[in-house]
């Protein structure tokens, strides 16, 4: 199955959120995928977020919130040279922090909903 996806494809929005938060907390930590910088991984994850959100049971409102944030990140990096210094600057930007927090909250709420559904 793995051959159809990039090595750092997270499969679920929840795992993507966890990886994004981990990179934001420690941008120096090496990526688990060999030859991939944290900046590249972060950027790819942001790019895939809307598709991952669409591949979940998240409602339209949550989807739109994630989509807006991901698109804003991508357009911000399109006009800025994406080197490591600029990347770290973007990571500590209040908008990025707020977005990652809201993404985390959406994923936690979804996890809680799914857990509740699985309970007998």
């Amino acid at each position: 199955m793995e051959e159809h996806f990039p090595k750092h494809w997270p499969f679920t929005i929840e795992r993507a959120s966890q990886r994004l938060s981990a990179i934001a907390r420690d941008p120096q930590a090496p990526s688990p995928v060999e030859g991939l910088s944290p900046r590249e991984e972060f950027h790819d994850l942001m790019k895939w977020l809307p598709l991952l959100a669409a591949d979940s049971d998240l409602d339209r409102k949550a989807f739109e919130q994630i989509d807006r944030g991901a698109l804003a990140w991508q357009s911000a990096l399109q006009v800025t040279p994406a080197d490591d210094a600029v990347f770290r600057e973007h990571l500590i930007h209040p908008d990025t922090i707020a977005f990652l927090q809201s993404l985390d909250a959406i994923c936690l709420a979804e996890r809680a909903r799914l857990d509740q559904l699985q309970q007998p």
């Binding site: 598709l51 339209r60 989807f63 739109e64």
Partner: protein, 510 residues
């Protein structure tokens, strides 16, 4: 080398080409008959701009509007030649007419980048202008003097004359060139092993347009298939240069058309024209590759778009005859059955009328038959008005056909739901042939969903678009698992596809 496999592979691809081409061949005969019997030689000559600067742009515009393919265009080119039109204009029309028609342009505009389709259209205009001018410069006076043709009288006799002309077109030398073109498809399938082109159009492959040029000259592609392939290449991040080469050469040129050129203009001009065409197409392809590269798309490392040019069979197959029959049966759509019946009737009628010598006698009788008493309120419409109505009617019906071909979202959703129900469980049980049949149909409905919504000015919003994209991705993964006959993967992706479809359905309901 398994000769049985090569033979049946060629037969299958030729059969599929005949089926796919049947509606556009029929339209080609109708257009040729309208040119001959309603417009007449002089009218046809004037329609293509006569001997003025307008001849090439007019040939391009008419080519864009008429729904013919590179096989159906051959009888039309014959009529153009008989009308004294220059070789450059005939070849310009012959090259453009199969590239686009209203339905395929609409599909392309919705599913690919609209700028790319506009760029492709403009490139085709530049291409045919250069090729037409080059031809007329290198081989001046390549036109024949118009053949004399008596004027067709009005009324029912005009309709009868068009019908007889269609029978005549069906059983004519033009049909032999159509058969040669179809034989070219078989030759290509025999030469290319199954799946050999899957990595021929990767984004960073500099040789991709050259490979495509080599293959597509022999290939036959309907305008619709070509635009579906181009859209798919855009969506999968394949080489845009290869995509344009495929469109220009695969859709525009075939072996039959080249043989027709050899018969009418000889070898040297034909080869010179083909060489220039390939060189210009390749130059344009490399030129537009970077600027039109879609942004934000993960390039796929392979594509199944060109599997239809290769042999459908591998050595693991055993019963080729049965498989050929199954593939052909599954390839036929209702409109193609109607066209094939009409083609068979016209061919039979043409053969009987020609061989018995009745055709020229009946045509003469139509011209000399005494007029019936005219009702005083009858208006005799000039041939030019009838021809204009025919062409406008063709365009209007093409637009109407767009609405039929791309149904409203609700109808598409119901169709997709029925197919999803058909597939449900098949992936657990490993019913590969059933899945191979339904997955492409479901993918086709997925594309129609987007176009149908846009056509009715209620395009899918981003939420719905991405839900659809997720579903289409899952279907593609399921398709790969089915190809590999991998039951575990098929089961996993099938379930994921079913879940993605449920979400798509919910998104569309809101």
């Amino acid at each position: 080398m398994d000769l049985t496999m090569l033979f049946w592979g060629a037969v299958t691809r030729m059969g599929q080409a005949c089926i796919a081409a049947s509606p556009t061949i029929l339209v080609g005969w109708l257009v040729a008959a309208v040119f001959e019997r309603i417009l007449g030689r002089e009218g046809t000559y004037r329609l293509f701009g006569g001997n003025t600067w307008r001849q090439l742009p007019q040939a391009w515009l008419l080519g864009m509007l008429l729904p013919v393919c590179s096989l159906g265009v051959i009888p039309v080119m014959v009529q153009m030649r008989r009308s004294g039109i220059s070789g450059g204009t005939i070849l310009a029309f012959g090259l453009t007419a199969p590239l686009f028609n209203p339905i395929s342009v609409l599909y392309g505009l919705t599913l690919s980048d609209p700028w790319a389709i506009l760029a492709f259209s403009l490139c085709s205009l530049v291409l045919i202008t250069i090729m037409g001018m080059l031809w007329d410069r290198l081989f001046p006076n390549s036109q024949l003097p118009p053949e004399p043709l008596p004027k067709t009288p009005y009324g029912i006799r005009r309709i009868a004359a068009v019908t007889l002309s269609m029978c005549d077109q069906a059983f004519s030398a033009a049909s032999l060139y159509i058969l040669v073109a179809i034989a070219g498809v078989g030759l290509l399938a025999a030469m290319l092993p199954a799946g050999v082109l899957q990595r021929a159009a990767n984004q960073n492959d500099l040789l991709a347009p050259c490979t495509m040029a080599l293959v597509s000259t022999l290939a036959y592609v309907t305008p619709m298939t070509a635009i579906v392939q181009v859209a798919s290449m855009f969506q999968h991040g394949n080489s845009i240069a290869a995509s344009f080469t495929l469109l220009a050469l695969g859709t525009g040129v075939n072996l039959g058309m080249l043989m027709w050129m050899v018969a009418h203009y000889r070898w040297r001009p034909t080869l010179c024209w083909l060489g220039c065409l390939i060189a210009i197409v390749l130059a344009m392809s490399y030129g537009i590759d970077r600027p039109l590269q879609p942004k934000g798309i993960e390039p796929a490392d392979h594509t199944h778009a060109f599997d239809i040019y290769c042999n459908p069979f591998t050595t693991s197959e055993s019963n080729f005859g049965e498989s050929t029959w199954r593939i052909l049966r599954e390839s036929v759509h209702p409109e193609e059955i109607v066209s094939m019946v009409a083609i068979a009737v016209l061919l039979a009628a043409g053969a009987i009328l020609r061989l018995s010598g009745l055709l020229p006698r009946w045509m003469d009788r139509l011209h000399t038959w005494p007029m019936l008493e005219r009702n005083s309120k009858d208006i005799v419409l000039p041939n030019s008005v009838i021809a204009a109505v025919c062409f406008v009617g063709l365009i209007v019906s093409s637009i109407g056909a767009c609405f039929l071909y791309y149904p409203p979202v609700e109808e598409v959703r119901k169709e997709m739901q029925a197919i999803e129900a058909e597939m449900l469980g098949s992936y657990h049980r490993g019913e590969w042939e059933k899945l191979e049949y339904w997955i492409p149909i479901q993918e086709d409905w997925g594309h129609k969903l987007t176009v149908g919504a846009t056509l009715r000015q209620r395009p899918l919003d981003r939420y719905q678009q991405l839900k659809l994209q997720v579903y289409m991705n899952k279907l593609e993964l399921l398709e790969h698992a089915v190809e590999d006959r991998d039951r575990d993967e098929a089961s996993a992706f099938g379930q994921q596809a079913a879940q993605a479809f449920r979400r798509l359905k919910d998104a569309l309901a809101r």
